[in-house]
Symmetry: C2
Amino acid sequence: MASALAIGERGRGRSTPNPNVGCVIVREGCVVGRGWTQPGGRPHAEAMALEQAGAEVRGSTLYATLEPCAHDSARGPACADLIAAAKPARVVIALSDPDVRTRGRGIERLRAAGIEVLEGVCAAEAGRSMAGWLSRIERGRPYVTLKLATSLDGRIALPDGSSRWITGDAARAHAHLERARCDGILVGRGTWETDVPKLDVRLPGLEDRSSRRILLSSRHPGLVPGSTHPEALEREVRWTPEQARGDVWEVISGVEAIAALPDCNDLLIEGGAQTAASFLAADLVDRLLLYRAPILIGDGKAAIGDIGLTDLAAAHGRWTLIDTRMLGSDRLEVYERARS
Amino acid sequence: MASALAIGERGRGRSTPNPNVGCVIVREGCVVGRGWTQPGGRPHAEAMALEQAGAEVRGSTLYATLEPCAHDSARGPACADLIAAAKPARVVIALSDPDVRTRGRGIERLRAAGIEVLEGVCAAEAGRSMAGWLSRIERGRPYVTLKLATSLDGRIALPDGSSRWITGDAARAHAHLERARCDGILVGRGTWETDVPKLDVRLPGLEDRSSRRILLSSRHPGLVPGSTHPEALEREVRWTPEQARGDVWEVISGVEAIAALPDCNDLLIEGGAQTAASFLAADLVDRLLLYRAPILIGDGKAAIGDIGLTDLAAAHGRWTLIDTRMLGSDRLEVYERARS
C-alpha cells in the first residue's frame, strides 16, 4: 500500500477532476502491474495497472488507495467491473470512496464476484494524499495550503520590500515541488502588481507542471471575476507587454469564491500578507507550509496581516505539526488545521 | 567527564566570579568524590570532591571540566597543589584555563608531581557550559542570551499588548530554568514600565535562584546608571508602593555598558522588541532561545525592532541551530552566533 500511495502522488496536481489514486498488483511476491490516475483523470489507476498485469491478475492481490469506482461513464467502464472480470484473489483498499456514485458499491461488486476485500489499510495516509479531491467532494472547495517563507522573527521582506533571498536553494526547490503538486496558485493584488510573479515550476523535468494562476482582487473593475485576462494586464496594472506576455490569470473577487473554482483539488496561496490574512480570517487554510531561514531581520514586512484575532486563547488548538525537516540550513515545518 | 559537566551545571548562575566547574573522582570503577563550584565561587569543585574522597584519591582518576587553578588566594589554596598532594594517578581535563594566573601552570604542577594529565576531553561541551565565564575572561563582557517567545509568525503580543499566553506551561517552566542559570536578567524601559516584571524563578525548589534585575534605560534622569534604585521606582515610573516593594534594579544607559557589569557571567535579555534590536544591532547576542507556539497571530507586536539591516545577504551565516526540542506543543530552538 505504501508503494501504491507513492505512485498515487504522481497524479497530484494533474488528475483533476479525478482523485490521484495509486494501484499496485502483486502476484507471488512480484509486482505485475502499477498504475496511477493519468493527467485529466483517465485512465484510472486500476485500469492502467490491470492492463500492465494482463493475465497475471488472476489470483493476485490488488492494492488501491481508493475504493474502485462503480459507475460507468462516457470516458470508460467502472473499475470495479474491470477488476471483477480480471479475478484477483484479494483487493486491499485504503479509503472508501465518498463519491455518491460509488460509496461502498465498488466494494459490494468485488465481494459479489467472490473477491476478498480488505478496507482501511493506511487510510490516514491516503486521506492526506488525496486531501484535495476529498475536500472538493466533501466541502465543495479545494484543499488550501498557505506557503510562507520567513526569517526566524517572522519577516518576509525588508522594509523596502526586498526578499531575495530569505530561504536557500533547497527550500526554494521544495517550494517549487509543492507548486507542481497543486492545481492552482493564488496571489493577492499587491503581490501581483509588485512582483509580476510567474509562479511557474522551475525544476528540471517538471517545467510542464506549472499550475493555473489565480488572482484575488476586488479592485480592478476591468478584470471580470471568473474569466481570464491575458490582455487586460497592461491596461489594469500597467505591466509592460514583455511582463504580460503569455500570462493567463483567473480572477476571483473574494476568498469564498475558491469554492466555485472548477477542477481545482489543491490550491496554494503564495502571497502576500493581506491575502494570507484574508484566508486565515475566513478559516479557509487547511495546511501551512512554513519555510524558515536561520536569519533575523528585525524591522520589515510581516508574514501575515490582520486576521481579526482579539483573544490569544482563541488562537490555540488550531494547528498541529505533522512534518518538519531541514532543507539546507533552512527548516520546513508543515502544520495541519486541527478539525474537530 | 559527562558526569562532571552535568554537576558543573549546578553552579551556573551562582558561581560568579568563578567558573561553574564540575569535578568527579573515580577509583576502581566507583565514584568516590564529586564537587561543583559553590555559590560565590568557593569552595572550588576540586576542593569539594577531594574532601569527599579523602584517602580514596590516591591512585584514582580525577575528572575536571577546567584546568585546576595554580594561584593561591586569600580565599583558599590552589587546586593544583591540593590535587598534587592527594596523588591521584591521572587527571582528565576538558578545558585549559584561559585565566592569566593559571593558563597551563596548573597542568605543569600536576605533571611535575608525577601525575598523568589528559587534556581536551569534551572541550566543546565544557566551553558551552562555561561560556559565560569564558566570555567575561576573554571579551570582558557576559555571554548574552536573547529569549523570545513568539507565535509561528513571529509575534510576541496582540496589537493591544496582551501576551498571556503565547507559549504553554512547559515552555514557560523551561524559560524559568534559564533564568536560574543566568546571573542577570535585563529588560528595556518599555517592558519595565508596562509589565512591572518580577523576573523571578517560579520553579519549586529554585525560588532562591532569582537573578539580579537590570534595566536598560537612558530616559530616566532620576535613575543613575550603575546604582540600584529601590526607592526611585515610584518616583520615576509611578509604580505603586505595592509594585515597587522589594525591587532592586541596576540601571545601565546603553548596551555597551554590559561590559562593565560586575560578577555577571551569563546575561539573559527578556524584552522587549527595541531592547532585543539594540543588542542585535550591536552584535552583542551570543545565543538565541526561541520558544514558538503553534499559533498564528497576524497583526500584532513584532519580536524584534529595527536592527539596521539593509541587505538580506548580510543577515545570513550568523546563526547556527544547536538544539531543538518540543516543550508540550511548543518548540524550543536554540541558536548560537557563528563567530569566525
